[in-house]
Every structure is written in C-alpha cells, then in structure tokens.
C-alpha cells in the first residue's frame, strides 16, 4: 500500500492571477506532513484543489514521485481520476445515498464487485468502524464516524498523496483526540506526502513537520513550526502564526567592538521619554536607520527576582501587571513596561511562578535578547 519514491515526494509550483491569485511553491517528503495555515481566503483550499486536479492552474507544475501531474509549460494535466489522491474533504463529501461500505467501494470500481466489498470492509475495519456501522448511511453516523469513512475512502484509493482539508473542523474536541491518533497511525503506515489544510495553529504545530504560511493567495513562508515561530519572515507572518509579542523599533547599526551584535531603539514610548536601546544579535542585513518590527517568543520572557544576577544577552525591566487571566493550570499575564509605555508583554505562567502575580502589582521581567528576531519594515 505504500509507494517508495525519491527524497522529495511532492513538488508544487504555482503562479496564477485568475480566477483568484495563487502563487508559491511547496515541497513535501515521503511520510512528511505539511500543514497549510492562514486565514480564510488565504488560498489554502485552492492550493489543495490544484493538487487534487480539481482546479487547473494558470501556470504551474506538480511532480509526485516520478510522475508529472501537471506542467502547464508542456501542456501536461493529469485529471483527478488518474492522480491517485486521497482527499478528505472539509465536510467529508460522503455520498448520502450509499452506506459507509458503498462509499468506500466507490473508490474501488476497478475491482470485481465481490472483491470490492471485501476490500471496502477491510479499510473500514482498519479505521475502526464496526460491522453494524459499516452498513449505515452517513446521516446515521456521528461526525467522527463520518470522518473515518472519508479517511477509509481516501485510503482505498491507494493514494500517492494524501490531502486533508480542515478534517477536524466538524468534530468535537473529544473525538479529535482519537482522530489525531488515527492520523499518527496513518503517517506511520503510509510513506506518502500528507498535506493538511487548517486554520487552527495549535493543531498545525502539533501535527505537522512543516508549516506553509499563506495569505491572500501567496505562500509567505515555509519551515518547521519552531523555525517560523522564532524567525518569521515579516510582521504579517508573525501575526498569522499568532506571535503576540511584536514591537516596533529602529535599527541603529552594528555595535562597535562587538561583532555579531547590533543596537536597536525600542519604539513605542511617549515623546517625553527616551526610547531605550537594546543590544541584539545582528546578521548584518539591515541598514542603519531602518524602521523594523521585532519579536520575542514568549519563552524568551521570564519573571525574575529583583536580586537576580545580570546576564549576557538579557535585559531586565520593571513592569506592571495589567491583566491576569487564570485558566486552569496556566495563567495569561499582560504586562506594561515602565520604560516603554505603549508596549505590552504577554506571557504564560505556570507552577509556582503564578503565585504573587496580581493585577496592579509590579514585577521584574527578563528578556532573553538572543531570542529577539528583527524584521525590516517594508512597504509592499
């Protein structure tokens, strides 16, 4: 049931303006799970439709394993019927007039009808549907069970590429855990590329090896969840992946006598106070005077004792607690810095650190400046 391929199992390049703008490239290895993330209308589902062959791109190229599925330059377009894609639709798109078994058997029309039933049953057993459930129609199954039928139908296609379009959106939280496990099992069994479309960032980070961040039809950045989180390409990507601690600054240039370091003004104060200067890592790509955005991941921010010794690459600030929301095991804290009145620091606290943090109280925070990522502001 698995296919062996080269190191890259899926390569996609697409470039179009009509009927909707869509551009970017995508690579996915065998057994790798790539998540397309972005707001609605970002082009995630269009990208998936291009991969499945349901939409013909203006210009583009798709290679899966050794097969060219689409190459507009050479006039190649393989229709969906001959692509062997396992596609789990957003609302499953199960045939309402067929039983679960009939739905899966639909993917197996090339087999004689007795063999078809046997195989369909096998796939439904595999995703954990009982014999009784297999003979029910979709409307008589729960959301989670319908999704399992959709997965079985996709698997029965012996796919060379698995596509999952918002597969968990119609399933409640409890059933999701079971389906996450099913997906994990799938990845182990199938060594085909898997592309997941989701608007749920936590889900994407948890399930995917790599994220592809899309906005307005464009691929903005792709990489591991950690790499995108630590170094988003621009402010838009930072917003899209949910980085909250983003600030404005002005780059002052490399630091004399300390190669690899540069200095930056932290903007966001009122006119009376002077903007503080931060010393951060410098890759030498930003010109002096350039306006910048910069971010710091929440794990680069810690509460410290006022007596804590100072450290290299760290700077300590006095801050007032503006808001403290206690959610079960964790607390979400919003801080205002005295030195930069407009800036807000958001951090998550757990364990003993939560004690003694109350609204209006003053705390001392330490920013790990080695985690600061600076992005030049560009007018696009």
């Amino acid at each position: 049931m698995s296919t062996t391929g080269a190191a890259v199992a899926l390569e996609l390049e697409v470039e179009q303006t009509l009927p909707m703008p869509l551009s970017g490239s995508l690579r996915c290895g065998p057994g790798e799970l790539v998540a397309l993330v972005g707001p609605s209308g970002a082009g995630k589902t269009s990208m998936m439709r291009v991969l499945a062959g349901l939409m013909r791109p203006e210009r583009g190229r798709i290679v899966v394993g050794q097969e060219v599925w689409c190459d507009t330059a050479q006039g190649i377009f393989v229709p969906p019927q001959r692509r062997h894609v396992g596609l789990v639709f957003q609302n499953y798109a199960l045939m309402p007039h067929l039983s679960a078994l009939g739905n899966v058997a639909l993917s197996l029309l090339h087999l004689p009808s007795t063999e078809r039933a046997v195989q369909a049953r096998r796939w439904l057993d595999h995703v954990g549907l009982t014999q009784e459930q297999q003979s029910r129609r979709p409307s008589q199954l729960s959301g989670g069970q319908q999704q399992r039928v959709a997965v079985a139908r996709a698997l029965a296609r012996e796919p060379r590429l698995m596509l999952l379009d918002e597969p968990f959106s119609a399933v409640d939280q409890m059933n999701r855990q079971g389906l996450y496990r099913l997906l994990a099992d799938l990845r182990r069994e199938l060594s085909v590329p898997i592309v997941l479309v989701t608007h749920d960032l936590n889900e994407a980070r948890m399930l995917a090896d790599r994220l592809v961040v899309m906005d307005a039809g464009q691929v903005l950045q792709q990489g591991t969840p950690a790499s995108i989180h630590n170094a988003p390409r621009n402010a838009r990507v930072a917003d899209l992946v949910g980085i909250q601690n983003r600030y404005r600054g002005q780059w002052l240039g490399a630091m004399d006598g300390a190669p690899g370091y540069g200095r930056m003004l932290w903007m966001g104060g009122d006119e009376t106070s002077e903007a503080p200067i931060l010393t951060v890592r410098d890759k030498g790509k930003i010109q002096s005077g350039q306006a910048v955005h910069w971010i710091i991941p929440s794990d680069g921010i810690t509460l410290v004792d006022s007596t804590a010794p100072r450290m290299i690459d760290a700077s300590d600030w006095d801050a007032q607690v503006l808001e403290a929301r206690h959610l079960g095991e964790i607390s979400l804290i919003t801080l205002a810095l005295k030195a930069v009145p407009d800036a807000r620091l958001l951090l998550t606290l757990s364990g003993p650190q939560r004690q003694g943090v109350g609204v209006g109280g003053v705390v001392r925070v330490r920013l790990d400046l080695s985690r600061v990522h600076v992005m030049p502001m560009r007018s696009r």
Binding site: M95, P96, S107, R137, R153
Partner: protein, 221 residues
C-alpha cells in the same frame, strides 16, 4: 366510456415520456451545471410553453409543421410523412408543451446535489459517466420521478394544443380530454362525467404515489 380515447391518451403520454426523458435529462443537467451568457434566455425558452396559451403554441406548431410549411412539405416530399393531424404530430406537440414540466423539476434536482460530491467522485476515480450513473442519477431520482409523473399526467389531460395540431380523429388524435369535450357538446353529460372522474382519480393516484415515493426516498437519506 370512450376506451379508445383513453388508450390513445395513455399511448401518447408514454411515447412523450420516452422521447422527452433522455433529451430533457441532458438539457436539465446542462442547465444545472453550466453557467453561460444568455442562460436566462434559454431558461425562459424552456418555461415558455408553460405560460403561453395552448392555442398560441398549437397555432405556431400548426403553422411551422403543417403541409404549407417548409418543414411539413419537405417531410411529405422526402419521407412521405405528415406532421399534423396524426399521432406523430400529436407527439411532437406533446413533447414541446411538456418541456417545462420535465426540465424544470429535473434541473432543480440536479442543482440540489452538492458540487463537492461530483468532485469527491472524480477524486475517487469515477469518470463522468460513472459519476452520472452512481452519484447524480440516484440523488436526483426523486425529482426525476415526480417530473416523469407530472409529464405523464399532464399529457393525459392536455386539450388545447392537441385540438389545434391533431383535430379529433377517432383512434388517431382523439384523446380522452377531447372525447370529454365532444360528449359535453353533444349533451352526453353522463358519459363526460364518467371519463372526467376516471381522469381525476388516475391523476390523483399517480401524483399522490409519486409524492409518497419521493418522501420515502428523502427519509432514507
């Protein structure tokens, strides 16, 4: 009771359905799935026989198919077939005036099928023909069934167009509706009453049965 007229009407209804169903299915599916410039005009043309007075429709059919028309003359000269005042003429007229009764409900039935089902079928490997047989047709079936019943019953009862194009030739063009009219004209109210009652009962049972079947099909989903 004019059994000959009743049998003729049933034959005409069956023949109409036989001719109209395949073409109507294709037209309805095409209208349901494709958008193009001027589609509203095509749809208006489909509905036209429904809103025109039957005499107007009959008149134009008579003028365009009769012996004096180019089509009518050509048919007589080359094939030796007349297109008016016989069963064939009746059938042509019947097909034309039933177009909206068949096409409209079938078009709605196709339109009601979620588009992603056809896409799911394509991704599952089904070609267009297999998708039509295994997905679209079963899902549109309740709509198609009621359209068929409607067309059949409507043909049984049609009067104006039939009279214009077919006249009232016993065994050839004298349908049950015309036979009822003739009875009334000759003050045979008892005979008219009998046939009218048969038509009412038959129509009621047919339409009722089709609604019942559609509702049962819908519940099974």
């Amino acid at each position: 009771m004019d059994w000959q007229a009743l049998v003729l009407s049933v034959e005409l209804a069956a023949a109409t359905l036989l001719v109209l169903l395949p073409a109507g299915l294709l037209l309805a599916r095409w209208l349901a799935y494709t958008g193009f410039k001027g589609k509203s005009w095509v749809e208006a043309l489909v509905v036209l026989p429904l809103v025109l007075p039957p005499t107007v429709l009959g008149y134009y059919l008579l003028v365009s198919l009769g012996g004096g028309s180019a089509i009518g003359r050509w048919m007589v000269d080359t094939l030796g077939v007349r297109l008016t005042f016989n069963f064939l003429g009746l059938l042509i007229a019947s097909v034309v005036f039933n177009i909206p009764f068949l096409v409209q409900p079938v078009q709605r039935a196709f339109e009601a099928i979620p588009r992603n089902l056809s896409e799911a079928a394509a991704v599952s490997g089904l070609n267009a023909w297999q998708t039509f047989w295994r997905v679209e047709l079963p899902l549109a079936w309740p709509g198609i069934l009621s359209a068929m019943v409607l067309t059949f019953v409507h043909t049984l009862g049609e009067f104006g167009v039939v009279l214009m194009v077919g006249g009232s030739i016993p065994g050839e063009t004298k349908t049950i509706a015309i036979s009822i009219y003739d009875r009334v004209q000759s003050f045979d109210l008892a005979g008219a009453n009998q046939m009218a009652l048969v038509l009412v009962l038959f129509s009621l049972v047919a339409v009722g049965a089709s609604f019942f079947a559609s509702a049962r099909l819908a519940v099974r989903r």
